[in-house]
């Protein structure tokens, strides 16, 4: 989605509709300034249509692997400034381990399979963020429901 959101408010709503969960994990990605401290904005491009189906697929895959009460994934696109929330995943389960693993898995999945591309706009120009070679490897390391 394009609109800004507050991670805490999302977590409160997520928790409010849970039933029988004992553990809830959230991950929030935040626009971080460059090491040089000159980031003006982060522009996030996405592939409309494919984005929605990729996020749905990530959620379904996580549900198939772990016994989850509920889960959530939100990813923004458009122009964001340092400190703004980029994306969030939340998982709820009866037990801690599943909630942690499913959230970690969803992040690995999302990094290499959800069609978003980040471009950093700094005082000295604009540059596409390079993908990390280990993102694909991280996703591949998940067997059914544990990381190897």
């Amino acid at each position: 989605m394009e609109a800004p959101f507050d991670a805490g408010e999302v977590l409160s709503s997520f928790q409010a509709q849970l039933n029988g969960a004992g553990a809830m994990v959230s991950f929030t990605g935040i626009v971080r300034d460059t090491d040089r401290g000159d980031l003006e904005a982060m522009k996030i491009e996405h592939y409309p249509g494919m984005t929605e189906s990729a996020l749905t697929q990530i959620a379904e895959d996580a549900k198939a692997r772990w016994d989850l009460n509920d889960l959530l994934v939100i990813h923004r696109y458009g122009r964001l400034v340092p400190g703004e929330v980029i994306m969030m995943v939340a998982t709820a389960s009866r037990h801690r381990k599943s909630a942690f693993e499913a959230a970690d898995f969803m992040m690995d999945y999302l990094k290499s399979r959800a069609p978003f591309w980040k471009k950093e706009i700094t005082h000295s120009g604009a540059e596409w963020v390079a993908s990390k070679e280990d993102d694909e490897a991280a996703l591949a390391s998940w067997t059914t429901n544990s990381k190897t």
Binding site: Y47, G49, M50, I86, K111, P115, F116, W117, K118, W128
Partner: protein, 81 residues
């Protein structure tokens, strides 16, 4: 067939998407055909290890058939999250 470009692939080719009439039967053939047409395509597709492709919004390998495809998209590895 609709062909879409994202991120620096889009920037090099200069348009976000276009209608393409082609006799190519696979993604690879389409890439070769476009690269032969104009330098901006050849530049975008110069290093295929840095290019990912989706056919009808599903990530696929380069040897995938496009014979019944409605939409083919080219882009760099994703950097969301």
């Amino acid at each position: 067939m609709k062909v879409l470009y994202f991120a620096w692939v889009r920037e090099r080719i200069g348009v976000p998407g276009e209608e393409v009439t082609t006799s190519a039967t696979t993604v690879s053939e389409l890439i070769d055909e476009l690269s032969a047409r104009e330098e901006r395509y050849a530049s975008a597709f110069a290093d295929l290890t840095a290019v990912r492709v989706a056919v009808d919004q599903t990530l696929v390998p380069l040897d995938t058939s496009i014979e019944n495809a409605r939409e083919v998209a080219f882009f760099p590895p994703m950097t969301g999250g």
